[in-house]
């Protein structure tokens, strides 16, 4: 069960402003979605249930740590740049 207050808290955590209408519709829709995700409760795992030994061993190989000169010129596309710094809103 998701309440409107919970949704307000979640939107604050997610840093997304919602309008009153959005709060109304999203509360109902998100509640329905979460209820579906509760399906995960139906399945039980024993404590020592052998989880998969991932076959992605190769994927965990780390690359050599070498210094590469940056090739992207972000000055051309970045907004709010001032003297090599990024200008942002005030942090209070």
């Amino acid at each position: 069960m998701i309440t409107k207050d919970q949704l307000k808290h979640l939107s604050k955590l997610s840093k997304i402003d919602l309008t009153e209408t959005e709060f109304e519709t999203y509360t109902k829709q998100i509640e329905k979605i979460i209820k579906y995700l509760d399906k995960l409760d139906e399945i039980s795992f024993e404590e020592n249930n052998p989880s998969l030994v991932l076959s992605f061993k190769k994927l965990s190989e780390l690359r050599e740590d070498t210094i590469i000169e940056p090739t992207l010129n972000i000055d051309q596309i970045a907004k709010n740049l001032k003297d090599k710094f990024v200008r942002g809103p005030v942090i209070s």
């Binding site: 939107s11 998100i30 709010n80």
Partner: protein, 486 residues
């Protein structure tokens, strides 16, 4: 020459190479067709104004005796969440309406190196979140077979443009079925590779542990040719693997010698489909059996929990990945002066569309204190369980079959107000993303003029077997010779 836009990759490359037509003539015809046809389906967000210049460069190189590259002169449409240097990449979002990437994604660089021309950027559900391409800030994409129906998603523009013959082939991204679902709804071939086969460098992340870039074409052969070029290790994406011994295009499947393939029919997925889809799947299977394949019913019990696991992981990763969009370094015009940080951030991010906001919020919920174990951890364990169960099935079967989508394409607007109904469209496709295995959708028929697709899955890194057998099945069905009249 007339109707060059109907040609496949091999015909385009050979036609240009042998001087039957020029690259410029081909690209001109495509652009003319886009101008004429795309106003009906809205598959493009941006058209590359430099495409003709690039075509002329190819013609010039050919005249000077250049050895023609494997994709020279073909035109590729690219989903608008894949970075293209100098060409707007909006993710179909107002948040990135003016964003021009300073670099090419690895897949784009590899295509260009082989002579492919990027013709433009294709429509999608905002940030690839959706199954119908109705969630785009640039208007929805319509199904070329019936303009009142959805084209599937999220790579809807990529599938619709290929079906409407507006490009030779296209790229999409597949997080939970986003290449395969629209391919099924538009009667084209869509392929999602094994996780790690294709570099994600330059793909705007939504759910990075699940997504892969895949190709869409009018034939399995075209899809293979694109995959051959874009696959392989990339130092910019450390999840990629070396494919030196995994050449997916070096030999054709030998039907005579390999006619003992055993195919598992996933009963939970087939029985869950609507009647017309179910019937179409079985008549296709009858045709395959004539080729000597053995098929029998098989079961994947954990499939019941796949969708809940998928949406938990995908939304959790989305809430984290999309946290980077603060609108400070890039984004739309909103002056940060006189704003407090949190106020600015929340106001700017209010510009995300409905579905993106919902998924970020659901993601924050499943990751929040007190719920993490109940949702996210559980979802990861279900993911492992599905992987184990599929691994065991592949000990017994070479391939697994199911409908790509359990329903026929439906009318525009029909499911837009009910996100959960929309999510259920992905029920058959999310399995391959959770398990990281390759899967393809091939067209197998129509009901009331609406396309039906078959999904074929193989074990990880078995793309060669999967694509070669898919090509045999495609020939036995023989339906992708007609295209929508637009």
């Amino acid at each position: 020459m007339s109707n060059l836009y109907t040609l496949n990759i091999e015909q385009v490359v050979n036609g240009i190479k042998n001087g039957e037509f020029t690259s410029e003539e081909y690209v001109s015809q495509i652009i003319e067709r886009i101008k004429k046809v795309d106003k009906k389906i809205n598959s493009f967000i941006t058209i590359n104004d430099n495409a003709l210049v690039q075509a002329r460069q190819i013609d010039k190189k050919i005249r000077s005796g250049w050895t023609v590259d494997s994709l020279a002169g073909i035109v590729v449409g690219v989903k608008d969440n894949i970075s293209t240097a100098g060409l707007k990449t909006t993710c179909a979002s107002k948040m990135l309406s003016d964003y021009v990437p300073p670099y090419d994604a690895t897949v784009i660089k590899r295509l260009k190196d082989k002579g492919a021309i990027i013709i433009g950027k294709l429509n999608l559900d905002e940030f690839a979140m959706g199954s119908t391409t109705e969630w785009s800030s640039y208007g929805l994409t319509r199904n070329p077979w019936n303009l009142d129906y959805v084209c599937g998603g999220s790579s809807g523009g990529s599938a619709a443009s290929v079906a409407a013959q507006l490009c030779t082939a296209s790229l999409g991204s597949d997080t939970g079925g986003s290449v395969r679902c629209p391919s099924s709804f538009c009667s084209v071939v869509g392929f999602k590779p094994t996780y790690g086969l294709v570099s994600r460098y330059g793909l705007v992340s939504y759910s990075n542990s699940l997504e892969q870039i895949g190709s869409i074409g009018r034939t399995v052969s075209d899809v293979k040719k694109i995959m051959e070029v874009i696959s392989g290790k990339d130092t910019n994406d450390n999840t990629t693997i070396d494919t030196k011994n995994n050449n997916i295009n070096n030999n054709h499947y030998d039907l005579e010698q390999n006619n003992n393939q055993k195919i598992g029919l996933l009963k939970e997925l087939i029985n869950g489909a609507d009647e017309p889809v179910y019937q179409c799947i079985y008549s296709a299977i009858d045709k395959f059996n004539e080729f000597g394949f053995t098929s029998e019913e098989s079961s994947l019990k954990s499939s019941e929990y796949a969708l809940a696991s998928y949406y938990t992981i995908a939304t959790a990763e989305a809430s984290s990945n999309l946290a980077r969009f603060d609108n400070i370094r890039y984004g739309f015009e909103l002056n940060p002066d006189d704003y407090e940080w949190n106020t600015y951030f929340s106001k700017a991010r209010g510009n995300f569309g409905d579905e993106v906001k919902r998924r970020i919020i659901v993601g924050s919920f499943v990751l929040s204190s007190g719920y993490y174990g109940k949702y996210y951890l559980k979802a990861q364990r279900v993911k492992d369980l599905i992987k184990i169960e599929l691994k065991n099935l592949f000990k017994e079967y070479d391939l697994l079959l199911s409908p790509t989508v359990p329903v026929l394409p439906f009318k525009i607007g029909e499911k837009i107000d009910d996100p959960l109904k929309m999510y259920l469209i992905d029920i058959n496709t999310v399995l391959a993303n959770l398990a990281g295995i390759p899967a393809i959708s091939i067209p197998i028929g129509f009901k009331n003029g609406l396309p039906i697709g078959l999904q074929i899955m193989a074990d990880e890194f078995q793309e060669k077997k999967l694509l070669d057998i898919a090509e045999v099945l495609e020939k036995s069905i023989n339906i992708n010779t007609s295209y929508p009249d637009l």
